[in-house]
């Protein structure tokens, strides 16, 4: 057996035919340069962490071709550039507060976030399905739960980097502009919580849809549709509700779009100004806000369970 005679393989030597006796008993290892590995095997936890790191890097095109670095870099650049401009304006004009709240940032720049998740979720999951690489993972110590949680965590982290970095820029800028420290820190913290929830929810929706199809193109289109179509529909309904003076309904309608969920939650719990599709912001009721939080968490959990189910079929 392999471990019995590791000493006979001399490290690094490629083939030494003179000493190779190919007809000898098969349990003897010949000196042809094959080295056995007797170092540590770090097991499932390590493999899961490696997969997380690799997937997170891949979401920004790191470790992939130059061509695949362009879209994430571009979108990340836009997110940060807008924040820089806002900071520059705030400092330049000597404002006493930032032009927008931290919690508003993701709402205003939602198309950029949609594009990012639409472009990167299929990269993360469709490739393994399409090229049938999944069985190679599951024939290793990695299990379904490891694979799905690593992929999910990586995508959520990538989104958090995308949404939290501009907030950090705003915060640093606000401090440089000598704005009120307590106000800014509180706003920044609220923004981070909101960004975390958004990342968790959007990563789940994006990955679940992308995992449905091994075709990347379909995946991109389907993810964009899943975010924009409900947003459009909900905005229309909210507009109608405003016209009919049915203000209570506006907050409840928001439950039907991903970004609406985030908006409701942060308006209710994080002191944000609601970004409803009405001429004036309408605060959702606490019930609608709580419902939004529950729906968002349930959706994220549902997407996770769906992914687990999806890979039960894809294994081998």
């Amino acid at each position: 057996m392999p471990t019995d005679a590791p000493a006979t393989g001399s490290p690094g030597s490629t083939g030494n035919p003179g000493t190779t006796a190919a007809t000898a008993a098969t349990d003897v290892i010949h000196d042809i340069g094959y080295r056995h590995y007797d170092g540590p095997r770090l097991g499932r936890g390590y493999a899961r962490r490696s997969l997380f790191t690799q997937s997170l890097r891949a979401a920004y095109g790191l470790g992939r071709s130059a061509k695949s670095k362009v879209p994430p870099a571009l979108l990340f650049g836009i997110m940060c550039l807008v924040a820089l401009i806002l900071v520059a304006v705030a400092i330049g004009t000597g404002m006493d507060e930032l032009p927008l709240e931290y919690t508003d940032y993701a709402i205003y720049l939602q198309p950029v976030i949609f594009l990012f998740i639409a472009a990167q979720a299929p990269v993360s999951v469709s490739r393994d399905l399409r090229f049938r690489t999944v069985p190679l993972y599951f024939s290793r110590p990695v299990e379904r739960l490891d694979y799905v949680s690593a992929k999910y965590a990586a995508m959520a982290s990538a989104l958090f980097v995308l949404t939290a970095t501009p907030l950090l820029i705003l915060y640093v800028g606000a401090l440089l502009a000598k704005l009120d420290f307590t106000d800014q820190t509180k706003g920044f913290a609220q923004g981070l919580v909101s960004a975390a929830l958004l990342s968790l929810l959007f990563a789940g929706i994006g990955l679940a849809i992308a995992a449905l199809t091994p075709r990347r193109g379909f995946g991109v289109a389907a993810v964009i549709a899943a975010f924009t179509v409900p947003f459009g529909a909900v905005s229309a309904l909210q507009g109608i509700a405003w016209e009919q003076d049915n203000l209570g309904a506006i907050g409840w309608f928001a439950l039907f779009s991903p970004i609406g969920l985030i908006d409701n939650v942060q308006s209710t719990f994080l002191g944000a100004t609601p970004a409803t599709a009405s001429p004036e912001p309408v605060d959702p009721s606490t019930a609608a806000g709580t419902a939004a939080l529950l729906v968002a968490l349930a959706l994220a959990a549902g997407c996770f369970l769906f992914l687990l189910r999806r890979y039960r079929k894809a294994g081998l």
Binding site: R41, T133, L136
Partner: protein, 344 residues
């Protein structure tokens, strides 16, 4: 020493029975698992990898029970390698990047993963091209990458599912040679599946034949091929002998050889090296043109021939025997019983 053992292993799906009371005992070495498509080969591998529970019976790999829970299953999967039958390589990364990643998925630390990847790719015969994206590789190179990812974590046992699929005769020979080396030089036991019998008698120490999820036969390759030295002879017709085949048959029968005919092919039972001379002299004496004289060891195929329920595999084996015998005919019959697993 037993590498794989199954005891009355059954796997039933709602409509099909994939494995039906399979009992196996496979030792170290290269073991061929033969069966027609749907015979249960892939199902068996899945169960052995702990990815699919058996309906009945038990199985153990490297002495570990595959059904003993997820920790044991993880230990098994850490120590075995798996090369799937289908394509499994992303085209947009290089072989090096891909195999490093797979090594880390097996639990190797980053530095070790890179070192082992470089070593393993060299051993399977990939050199400069390993830095190029896999999308541009030939089928033969892709098969090597697939083999490399199965070996990179230095397993004690590898499952190779149809490794010669889609390869041309030369690529097939290369792959079979590599498989032989995996055991002979690397000391890694191999379970290789194929529906082509001809390949396995050359590569394997031991052959297990399954059909419809049941064990048809399990014995060492030398058992299969012991009494199988058969010469296939084909000759031309000449003006003097309008039916050269019949004439030769008569002449050889006269020399006391046992002969069966199959169209223009004569199968001569070879008693020893003398038989070659007798055939040569007989052909020369009659002035016939010798189209071919090659060694046929289709005794393995005859397992199927005895059992006429398997026409598909029968055909497959006949196909395979042509390139195989062509290349073995020059060499003496492979004598490789050393360390071969015991027959069941």
């Amino acid at each position: 020493m037993t590498v794989i053992a199954t005891e009355n292993l059954s796997k039933r799906f709602p409509r099909v029975t994939a494995l039906d009371g399979l009992t196996l005992d496979i030792g170290p070495g290269v073991t061929g698992l033969v069966g027609a498509n749907g015979a249960g080969k892939s199902t068996l591998i899945k169960i052995l990898l702990g990815l699919s529970p058996a309906s009945e019976g038990s199985a153990s790999v490297l002495g570990l029970d595959v059904a003993a829970g997820s920790d044991t299953a993880a230990t098994i999967r850490e120590r075995v390698g798996y090369m799937p039958e289908h394509d499994c390589l992303p085209p947009d990364v290089s072989a090096t990047e891909f195999v490093v990643h797979m090594a880390r998925m097996s639990g190797l630390p980053a530095t070790a993963a890179r070192e082992r990847t470089a070593d393993t790719l060299r051993h399977v015969g990939l050199y400069e091209e390993r830095y190029r994206p896999i999308g541009g590789y030939s089928t033969g190179m892709k098969q090597r990458v697939k083999l490399a990812q199965a070996l990179v974590h230095d397993p004690q046992l590898v499952f190779l599912d149809e490794p010669t699929n889609g390869l041309d005769p030369v690529g097939r020979d290369d792959m079979l040679g590599l498989i032989r080396r995996v055991h002979a030089d690397f000391g890694i036991s191999v379970l290789v599946t194929s529906h082509l019998l001809g390949e396995l008698e050359r590569t394997c120490d031991h052959v297990v034949v399954i059909d419809g999820g049941r064990l048809l036969r399990s014995s060492s390759t030398s058992d299969f091929t012991q009494s199988t030295a058969t010469l296939a002879v084909e000759v031309t017709d000449t003006d003097a002998h309008p039916d050269g085949t019949a004439t030769l048959r008569k002449a050889l029968a006269g020399a006391g050889l046992e002969i069966t005919a199959d169209g223009r092919l004569l199968y001569v039972q070879a008693e020893g090296d003398d038989t070659y001379d007798v055939v040569r002299d007989a052909v020369a004496g009659l002035g016939l043109g010798l189209v071919r004289m090659e060694q046929r060891r289709h005794r393995i195929a005859e397992i199927f021939r005895d059992d006429d329920t398997l026409p598909a595999s029968n055909q497959a084996s006949t196909q395979a025997s042509t390139p195989t015998t062509a290349s073995t005919s020059a060499t003496a019959p492979a004598t490789d019983p050393a360390g071969s697993p015991h027959a069941h």
